[in-house]
């Protein structure tokens, strides 16, 4: 079971080192400084003490068996070390060491996989940065900072880029639960992790960075059963090999298109860019899914039109407002403003205006989700319209997302929105893309 690996009670760090440059040092240091409360046992044949902890010369010397072995030794030594883990009864392993199939050494990788299977250990890696479990305060990785606790779990294929993404996510204060680098996937693959996350109570939203999926049909079968939003970025649009195709189908069947179809069958939302992946995971993790029928409100006409244009490009529907809504809006809007969707308040960014207009449009039966855009013109305190949206949203189950546009002047307002778990974006286009994915998720749910 993967819970032995990802929720361990005790850990041996094999290859723990005094050398700050070595991964074995960094991982042990991260585990200790992150505040993990389980047992931690450094293992290194040449050391007696590492980072203030007694160091064991072999896994076989440990006082009792442990759940997880994290292995950061040279690739050639991995089989022997893993064999020791198996003999000691270690339940699972994360192999951080590189130098396996990623450099063409598949034979060594298969050997390691077979050792893990012989001893019934689940194994993540090799060639992974490790993993983080924020709810256990466990940073069993080389990622320098612990992300904030939250409901998003992030599965990424290893590599420097994946590592940088996690570091960036942490700096964005994105609330994460599990971060797993799957590495070469010699044993545990994306589908295994998805199965774990599906049952995991802390995971509300699953975010994936994928370079390739091997057992494709299994991925579809596992993903299509998950009752949580799954959003994935798949890189590589190459149509290599299509030139030699013998049929039209062969020539049109780029890898990318096959993935496109597979993700649709799997009910996985496909993101086109890193920005979309992160923005939408945030929205999916804190907002209910959205029905189509989008309302847009702004104190700046330009921003509202920009958002409306993109909404239409993405196939979102901006319905006309009902007669009742129009009549009520006439009562509150400035004389120069006309009731419409998108709704422009003609520059009025006051609390009252944002509160009334948001209330009225949210009550329109044709509107199922709302985007409120505030353009900072330094006429009002941007916290006031933010408070207005927070108040108007109270007791309403329609998703509301916001875009507060401005520089330093809006920081406090943005913080207020975030505290109230409203997905907020610095640009209206980003908000629309995230909103579109809330709509896509609702469609996926309907299909099931």
């Amino acid at each position: 079971m993967l819970s032995n690996v990802l929720e361990p009670d005790s850990i041996a760090v094999i290859g723990a080192s005094l050398n700050r440059e070595k991964w074995g040092y960094r991982i042990l240091d991260n585990i200790i400084s992150g505040g993990y409360s389980g047992g931690v046992y450094p293992v290194n044949p040449n050391e007696d003490e590492v980072l203030g902890k007694m160091c064991y010369h072999s896994v076989l010397d440990l006082p009792h068996r442990v759940d997880l072995g994290i292995i950061a030794v040279p690739a050639g030594s991995v089989p022997a070390v893993l064999e020791d883990c198996g003999r000691k009864g270690v339940r699972g392993a994360v192999i951080v060491s590189a130098g396996f199939s990623e450099v063409g050494n598949r034979e060594l990788e298969n050997k390691v996989r077979d050792i893990a299977r012989d001893h019934e250990m689940r194994m993540i890696g090799p060639n992974t940065f490790g993993f983080i479990n924020t709810h256990l305060h466990l940073n069993a990785s080389i990622i320098p900072q612990m992300p904030e606790k939250g409901g998003i779990s992030f599965v990424t294929q290893s590599g420097t880029f994946g590592l940088a993404l996690v570091d960036w996510a942490a700096s964005q204060q994105m609330g994460l639960h599990l971060v797993v680098g799957v590495g070469n996937k010699a044993d545990v693959d994306d589908s295994d992790i998805l199965e774990h996350l599906s049952a995991d109570r802390h995971t509300k939203t699953i975010m994936m960075y994928i370079e390739g999926i091997e057992r494709g049909r299994r991925f579809i079968d596992v993903a299509s059963r998950i009752r949580k939003p799954v959003i994935a970025l798949k890189t590589g649009r190459s149509r290599a090999g299509s030139k030699a195709a013998l049929s039209h189908t062969g020539s049109l069947a780029g890898t990318d298109r096959i993935y496109d179809g597979a993700f649709k069958q799997a009910g996985v939302i496909r993101a086109g860019t890193i920005e979309e992946l992160f923005d939408s995971a945030l929205a999916l993790s804190i907002s209910p899914p959205a029905g189509d029928g989008i309302g847009i409100i702004s104190n700046g006409g330009g921003a509202a039109i920009l958002a409306a244009d993109l909404s239409e490009d993405l196939g979102l529907h901006l319905p006309d407002l009902s007669d009742d809504t129009v009549r009520m809006l006439k009562g509150v809007l400035p004389a120069i403003a006309t009731p419409a969707n998108p709704q422009d308040t003609a520059g009025d960014g006051s609390y009252e205006m944002f509160k009334d207009v948001t209330d009225i449009i949210l009550s329109d039966p044709g509107i199922n989700a709302l985007l409120v855009i505030y353009v900072h013109a330094e006429m009002v305190d941007p916290c006031l319209p933010a408070e207005a949206v927070i108040a108007a949203r109270e007791g309403c189950d329609k998703p509301v997302i916001t875009s507060w546009i401005g520089g330093k002047g809006i920081e406090t307002a943005v913080k207020r929105l975030e505290e109230d778990r409203i997905p907020n974006y610095p640009l209206p286009e980003r908000a629309v893309v995230a909103l579109n994915n809330l709509v896509r998720y609702k469609r996926i749910l309907k299909k099931r």
Binding site: G212, I213, E214, R215, G216, R217, I220, A245, L246, S247, H248, T249, G250, S251, L252, A253, T255, R257, I258, D260, G261, A262, K264, Q265, K447
Partner: protein, 209 residues
Amino acid sequence: MKILTEHESKKLLAEYGIPVTREAVARSREDAFLLAREIGFPVAMKISSPDIAHKNAAGCVLLDAGKPDVGAAFETIMENAKKHAPNARIDGVLVQEMVPRGTEIVIGIKCDSQFGHAVMFGLGGIFVEVLDDVSFRIVPLTKQDAIEMTEEIRGHSILDGCDVESIVRTILKVSEMAAKENIFELDINPLIACAMGVVAVDARVILKG
């Protein structure tokens, strides 16, 4: 890899209940005339060879051949085939019914190394690659998958007025075929769709091994 001729490919499609054109391979000029009379004039005539993929470009397709044309058409197609590909294996000339105009669709199979068989649906005809308006799903497909495929292509409104139910049924039969037969690649292009149903007008199956 084994490439089936159009006629062999369609026999396989017919086994799965996919409607195909009435047709037969003529070995001689006289044969062609007799077959055409049985099928009903006018007829379409195409070279029958596993080695000639682009029949049209090779001058090996003649459409709307009437009673007086069939004999000469047979000779022309055989000559063009020999000119185009002197070493090609040639079964003869395929004589088939002319199908009334309709919407040209493509349905195909591709075997992917990660996902296994994938089914393609899209706008077909000779401009299939230029239009590039296709959608894929991994086998086995559900009916919902097949319906979505017909809805998600850019040119989906071109299907208005077609018997979409028959198209969906054909996609599902192709999915079933992909799961059962040892297919490497398959093209049904065009599958002609109209209000009355669908019919496979040209097809090409490539088997593995």
